[in-house]
Symmetry: none
Subunit: 220 residues, 2 copies
DNA sequence: CAAAAGGTTAACAATTTGTTAACATTAGAA
DNA sequence: TTCTAATGTTAACAAATTGTTAACCTTTTG
């Protein structure tokens, strides 16, 4: 579940980021509205936490921008306000916010609000699960199934398959795979081939195509 | 309802004590962390109000001590901070606080926060009971049953199992478990394994699957 | 306060995973 | 078709991860 926090105060970004990450959310941050909007468009967060008061583009404006962006119109929004008195100011706007939390922020309160909001919404989007044809891969559960049959892959094999399945059809060069799966470790090309072979063997069906001279790709 | 206030400033103790007693709470006070912890263990308060800045043992440290004391781990905690800028200092700690209140303290605000917290605590039993297959875990009653047979788990074992059962199937890395079960304490990986082993031993059925290279997950 | 229970760690064993070299095979250009 | 570079396969070995035990320290409880 992806959360974007936009606040000009670095301390608050740090504070919230820490507490939300601990809860298992993917947290992204921005220190101003411009950057916030840019990031939001890229990340497509499920929830956006906005400071009302910010230089350049305040929370209100940003909220309107967000709500008028097709990809983001379903994102949930929580406003942070300095004091509860500012409710009155907020009231006048049909800003499209889903909740308000006043500073100073209690992380437990915020988290319970977030959970409430995400539960409320149809927020069931397991973006960690990729399912293509009879093959399913679930990153969170670390499970691979072919035709509902469990397939046990080792760590590297799993990462490799997941990588290929994130962009079906795209050819990954060995260099790319070493970057994405091996974190640029110094491994030989044959190592990759061996892992590919093991995956093919375990799945039984050849979903991974060799593109001679280039690399590998996931394809039916 | 018992409340313990720990603050080195006598005036604040007096002030809060007076206001809270007026609301009908049983109020206890301590002027430093050492004494605060000692009293807490004796009194077992429902709520503890801690000053972040104190000589000898500050609020953070005291909070950690409290949270790692079995009898006190369910106590609610409110921090008093001098200014909201101190977020940054709070950020680095997994404090386990339920709320923050900044000085100067408005007794009205504080009391409303206290009521909110205590209400939250009594009223809602989120999903404190999780039942999967023949295994049942009840957080409130601190009970585990397998096939209607009582299983006695130690505190850490319980917390660990509960954590895993909140998201069946999800693989928890050891890092995640240290955050959620140990509150980021410095414990070795083998410690987790030992606890896992004990749980498996006590339940008798292997509900906890090892995902090599990643961590553990609850699964049938 | 002492006994019992719980928590942590180190050391080592057992197991799984990752890598490589060597060789076999294959695709595709010439 | 033939040749060659690229890929596939295998097995051996190295490295990493987890399981287990026992000892030791801490906390809780009677």
């Amino acid at each position: 579940m992806k959360i974007l926090i936009v606040d000009d105060e670095y301390d608050i970004l740090e504070f919230l980021s820490y507490n939300l990450k601990k809860e298992g959310y993917e947290v992204f941050t921005a220190q101003n509205g411009i950057d916030g909007l840019k990031q939001a468009k890229k990340i497509i967060p499920d929830l956006i936490i906005l400071d009302v008061m910010m230089p350049e583009m305040d929370g209100m404006q940003l909220c309107e921008q967000i709500k008028s962006t097709a990809k983001l119109e379903n994102a949930f929004i929580i406003f942070l306000t300095a004091r509860s008195e500012e409710y009155s100011e907020l009231a006048g706007f049909s800003s499209g916010a889903d909740d308000y939390v006043t500073k100073p922020i209690s992380p437990k309160l915020l988290i319970s609000r977030i959970k409430a909001i995400l539960k409320r919404g149809n927020g069931f989007k397991d973006d960690d699960v990729i399912s293509i044809e009879k093959l399913l891969i679930d990153k969170q559960k670390h499970i691979v199934k072919y035709d509902d049959q469990d397939i046990v892959l080792a760590r590297k094999e799993f990462k490799l398959l997941y990588c290929l399945m994130t962009m079906p059809g795209k050819v990954f060069t060995r260099e790319e795979l070493i970057t994405k799966v091996w974190n640029d470790a110094y491994v030989g090309d044959r190592t990759i081939d061996v892992h590919i072979r093991k995956i093919r063997e375990k799945i039984g069906v050849n979903y991974i195509k060799t593109v001679k001279g280039i690399g590998y790709k996931f394809n039916l």
